[in-house]
Symmetry: C2
Subunit: 391 residues, 2 copies
């Protein structure tokens, strides 16, 4: 490896950490969740502004480990039984929250004069909630364990799994012009099947692992083995056709049910604190501020479409909150489903690559994904339930 | 980034962590330092055997952050004043313990027919005692606070600093192809100068940083800012013409003297536990086991050289124990200086990268480092003083 590559990686890593914590602290003092500051640090330090944090392979690897460890930690802090207890309303919120933004995005894009395939891709890109952003905001607000928090989490996990099914389906439509319902159903069954199998098979495996580690004395074994377990579960999920983050989340759920869960949480926390900010900074760094200038007339069609997508994307998810039942604050649940993140960007990237998304539609989707992401933290903060009810 | 690249990186990262901890535990149970197991895990998982841990850019970046955080932690655990109290004998042991193995390694390598530059690198690789291994063994024997223990620790720290000067000097020789006393002197001055400036300028900066962090509330700020501080200090050292690890070590020394040093140590420890094993595994992964087969006649020169290096490397350090004065057990001090670890391996790695160490010389150095590391714990156990005198 060239020393200059190493130096620019170390500089990017250190700048991202400092920027994330500085702007995170400022955001918290302004009454906003810290993750908003980490996203803004990314915009500021990224290629389109200061250029201190390039989207190099090294930074993207750290970012990927970051989001996996974040979901692992969320899993560690999630009680499987409580999650299952809110399974019904969570699934309802997920399904309604995918159908409404898809319909809105599709109709709006057709109305703007784009072809059907483009409209399908735009609609699909609006379906998946960013579990990373939502869970981080809930954690910042201390509401991860609330009933609303658990419903949002469950719905976001279902969203991630369903979102990949939708991605497989629309990719097939783009490639062959048609789709088979049988293939789509198989894909969905495989993804949910993995989660089930992972948890059922993972529970004894996790206990075995913890027992083995408990008999060991070598320094750092608990955190090293836990991190390795999470990464391998993520790989397994990906290999099974599900999302890597679902695997990391499942690994957390499994280890949360062992008798060393508190030790694991404490050991993993500082590691998450080093890796995860890089994920949020990397998302912010993907914002190209030049496209956001409304004075430039060539930006306006994309910005107008983006504005429409932000409205239908946000309202569609927001309305999905009312699909939940029980004594819950539906507006908070709806708001928690709004952020699109990594999955929406993956849709946009694939749509751009296979020609389904022409440049203005691509820019509109990316802008809408970022806008919903930046909108959510202050919105959740405003709508948070005063009286925290644990599920 | 291609998903397959990400998957192979995650697999390598997870395998390296699991292998390092498993073999580390086995080594500890056999009375050997855990670091030996991490090196062996690298040999086993590396390209020449199982191939699970390739030396990809991603793994090398994690490894580099790992060694920087390791040296940062060593700095955090070093009390400058306590070391200065046994400074005289420690410095004498350090200097004699560097001169003898250097001369032995140089002469032996020249006698084996290698060029001068290779001989210089081999000699230099034998100079630095592993502070990590020595302090770990002393701690296991309950002799860290003994006068002998303090002298070993002080000499090992001086070794680390002097070793980095030697590294800077030989790197410059390798780069410019000539042995210039002026260049050597400049390198030494730069390295010492950087360390001095870093500590003098770093002390108020570190206190300022800790005060600032103390007023902040955002989660994870202490570990994130500490890690960023270490990485930036490493970059500064590199930019100033010194080695990156000197900067990371200086950052640790500086933060060790703040009122949050215990919190920083606790927060940094699990992060070191995740990154540092990758460094040792990556080093082990660079050993090509085909070179270790004595049945293959073409391997014999390297293996013979390794054998010679083990003898001169061990005897040179052992003899240095008699450079100490006061009522101390000199054989114990000498034995405590024998293990070469991370710094010797860094020499080997840099020498391999810049072409100064051809494959057989690289293998000989790594084998010698392994062997001296393996030799030390039983030797120290045998030679330990009965009556413990505190310094």
């Amino acid at each position: 490896m060239h020393p200059a590559d190493l130096a620019s990686f170390l500089l990017a890593f250190a700048s991202a950490l400092l920027g994330a914590k500085l702007l995170g602290e400022i955001c918290e003092r302004l009454g906003q969740p810290a993750v908003l500051g980490e996203l803004l640090a990314g915009v500021l330090l990224g290629p389109s502004m200061l250029g201190l944090v390039p989207l190099s392979a090294g930074i993207l690897l750290i970012a990927e480990v970051g989001v996996l460890l974040l979901l692992f930690e969320v899993g560690l802090e999630t009680d499987l039984e409580e999650l299952l207890r809110v399974g019904g309303p969570a699934m309802a919120v997920a399904v309604v929250g995918m159908a409404l933004p898809f319909a809105g995005g599709y109709l709006l894009t057709r109305a703007a004069g784009f072809p059907t395939l483009t409209a399908i891709f735009v609609g699909a890109a609006l379906t998946a909630t960013s579990i990373g952003i939502s869970s981080r905001v809930l954690s910042d607000l201390g509401l991860l364990a609330s009933r609303e928090g658990q419903i949002i989490l469950g719905a976001a996990v279902a969203d991630d799994i369903l979102g990949l099914v939708v991605l497989a389906v629309v990719s097939q439509i783009a490639a062959s012009g048609s789709v088979s319902a049988w293939q789509a159903g198989k894909s969905a069954l495989l993804s949910f099947g993995f989660l089930l199998v992972a948890i059922v098979a993972g529970l004894p495996l996790g206990r075995l692992l913890v027992r083995g580690v408990g008999r060991a004395n070598v320094r750092g074994i608990l955190v090293a083995v836990s991190v390795a377990f999470a990464l391998l579960a993520a790989l397994g999920a990906q290999a099974a056709g599900s999302a890597a983050i679902v695997g990391a989340f499942a690994a957390g759920l499994v280890l949360a049910r062992t008798n060393r869960s508190d030790d694991i949480r404490n050991a993993v926390r500082p590691t998450v604190d080093v890796f995860a900010p890089i994920f949020f900074v990397a998302i912010g760094a993907q914002v190209d501020v030049r496209y956001l200038d409304p004075v430039d007339a060539s930006n306006r069609p994309a910005l107008l479409l983006a504005l429409g997508l932000i409205v239908v994307g946000s309202l569609g998810k927001f309305a999905a909150g009312w699909a939940a039942w029980g004594r819950v604050r539906r507006s908070f649940i709806g708001a928690g489903m709004i952020p699109r993140g990594e999955v929406g960007l993956i849709f946009a990237q694939i749509g751009k690559q296979n020609g389904a998304l022409p440049e203005p539609a691509f820019v509109a989707v990316v802008v809408a994904v970022f806008a919903t992401t930046f909108l959510t933290p202050p919105l959740l903060k405003t709508l948070r339930p005063r009286r925290v009810e644990t599920a």
